[in-house]
Amino acid sequence: MEWHRRHVLGLSDFHPEEMEFVIDTARSMEEVLTRDIKKVPALRGKTVVNLFFEASTRTRTSFEIAGKRLSADVVNFSSATSSVTKGETLLDTARNIEAMKPNILVVRHSASGAALFLSRHVSCSIINAGDGQNEHPSQGLLDLYTILKVKGKIAGLKIAIVGDILHSRVVRSDLHSLGRMGAKLWLCGPATLVPREMERTGAVVTSDIREAVRGADVVIMLRIQLERQKTAYFPSLREYSRRFGLNRDVFSLAKDDAVIMHPGPINRGVELSDELADCERSLVLLQVESGVAVRMALLYLLAGGSHVAH
């Protein structure tokens, strides 16, 4: 298929074929990563700017490595300044960066819709690396890719996502990527963190982790984001862990070949028990690996590539 997108802002308007195309491209990229010299000249002379307004090490590093493996010049712009504090507006910052003629802006921002907003006002390509509570499309695609690697398919799988659904941009992207490819999705967490409206996505909503995990092929645990909690959504971490944490007992209800995923970073002993975090069924590191390949694919496609130079 032909790639026509100038931006990757979210997966809400991605067709299944498009997602498959990205995954196919990521597979070719992964081959590069197995070489002794892990670099191809595909993006030589192109500039990728990681514009991060929110602290993030792993996503930024993943994009940085992805860009460098493709020979792009990668520049990191990190601004801890939250959007609320007065100062330069987001638009001014982005326009300043744009004046330096980058090809692709990889944007992480605490406000939902920030990437879409920038795409309307700058002329270079934008990849959304997470905007507030809206979407994190590269995570949605890497989750899809990771599950495909292990399960070979998505359709018909029962996938449980457990944790802070309300604030999670990962969920909003996974709902599109995994949901659109035919998975049966279960969303589980405290009622205060799983909005009832999410049933409109077709997912099953529950506060019973045993029900969510029973017979599941994949269990995705989300980080409990303590920093997001201005007022308590649940009584204590201790109680959370007892009700909504994944331990061996609960996980034994899943299918025998079920796998565990987590977008990271893990709160060990809170949402995921220590032993499960490191067990052979945990795909956490495979997710990180897939992430680089998927991000290479996105950068490559946005920079106008159509096939991988071997």
């Binding site: 959007s83 609320v84 507006t89 987001l90 638009l91 921002h109 605490s110 406000a111 939902s112 819709g113 920030a114 879409l116 907003f117 006002h121 905007d131 507030g132 509570q133 809206n134 979407e135 941009r169 909003r172 909005p195 409206e197 999410m198 409109r200 201005k230 007022t231």
Partner: protein
Amino acid sequence: MLLIKGGRVIDPASGRDEIGHLVLEDGKVREFLAGEAPVRFQGRVISAEGKWVVPGLIDMHVHLRDPGYEWKEDILTGTRAAAAGGFTSVACMANTNPVNDSPEVTRHIIEKARREGCANVFPVAAVTLGLEGKEMADFSELAEAGAVAFSDDGKPVENPLLLRRAMEYVRPFGYRILSHAEDSVLAGGGAAHEGWTARKLGIPGIPSAAEEVAIARDILIARQVGGRLHIQHISTRMGVDLLRMARRAGLDVTGETAPQYFTLTDAALEGYDTNAKMNPPLRGEDDRMAILEGIQDGTIDAIACDHAPHEAYVKKCEFAVAANGIIGLQTSLPLSLSLLAGGKVTPARLVDLLSAGPARILCLRGKGTLAAGADADVTVIDPEAEWEFGPGDVLSKSKNSPFLGWKMRGHAAATICGGRVRHATIAGVTVDA
């Protein structure tokens, strides 16, 4: 003298709805004439055939941003937009800079409006000093300076005891407290109606209960002390129900809504359109229907647009940090006219909502009626005129409207304030300097 000839004169306050002619003299309505128009009339004549002649429209909830935020709007531009939208009077809220909590500010507004305004301006003064919710403003002094009511609009009076005392204290003087009903703790820093759209877009929600809890509280306090209360910008179904209940209980509680709440829903937020961001937020379809029902059955007393001008850059940003509010003075009338479709709202009822109702609520003498002796504030409405609301039409300093580009039906063909023509689109009718 001025003769408005041949229009359909709709004056719900005096029960009139018939074709005829209206004579204005010395800033007052002199008389209504039925039958043939006077042949030898010594004065100006405005032909209103095929149009409605109604008491000058009154918007009881606007932000003129003057003093202090004149780059957003000032009294001249705000009242110019009002006149173009058919409004001869507006009541402006107190969240200026400095806050209108002192007679100096009240007088500044009134004098500036008298000097350069194109419409009557009635200041609403603050309930609490600096809108801080801590100490009551000097109500009597403010009223003497010309304040017509009291409100901390923009935010609620959070302390229920303070609200009780304010309502109780001003009751014998006949003043009304206008309430921005919001439980800000429940609202919890949200930026959109808590519903599917907000969930989908990942925007923190403002639950309907944040408004409903506050309306219930305010009504119960009014009941406790026999106070006169007005609920501003009602946006929820239960908010309308609570107002209906208060009225059935015989309480002196009135309420307003805005055209955006019966025209739009939170679906307008798709694409993170910051021009659809306001507080209270655009609600769901069920709420919109309830607002319409409240208008139809008489529960809601007034339509007020909550005109809230903002410069471009505070809207051209991330949704979460964008300013709340939209301009509305030039779209309020056409959007309200759309209520007539389906026949559940009569023209007389509509005029009541846009003129007689607000005049009653704010006790504006000589306003909201065309009875002999009333002020010569008249709006001539062409209910059929079709037009498009484009950026070039905006007379405000700010253009933050979700209705830009909308096809509208109906507009003010002439706006006459105190006998002076302030706006006219009728051929041959010139605007007075």
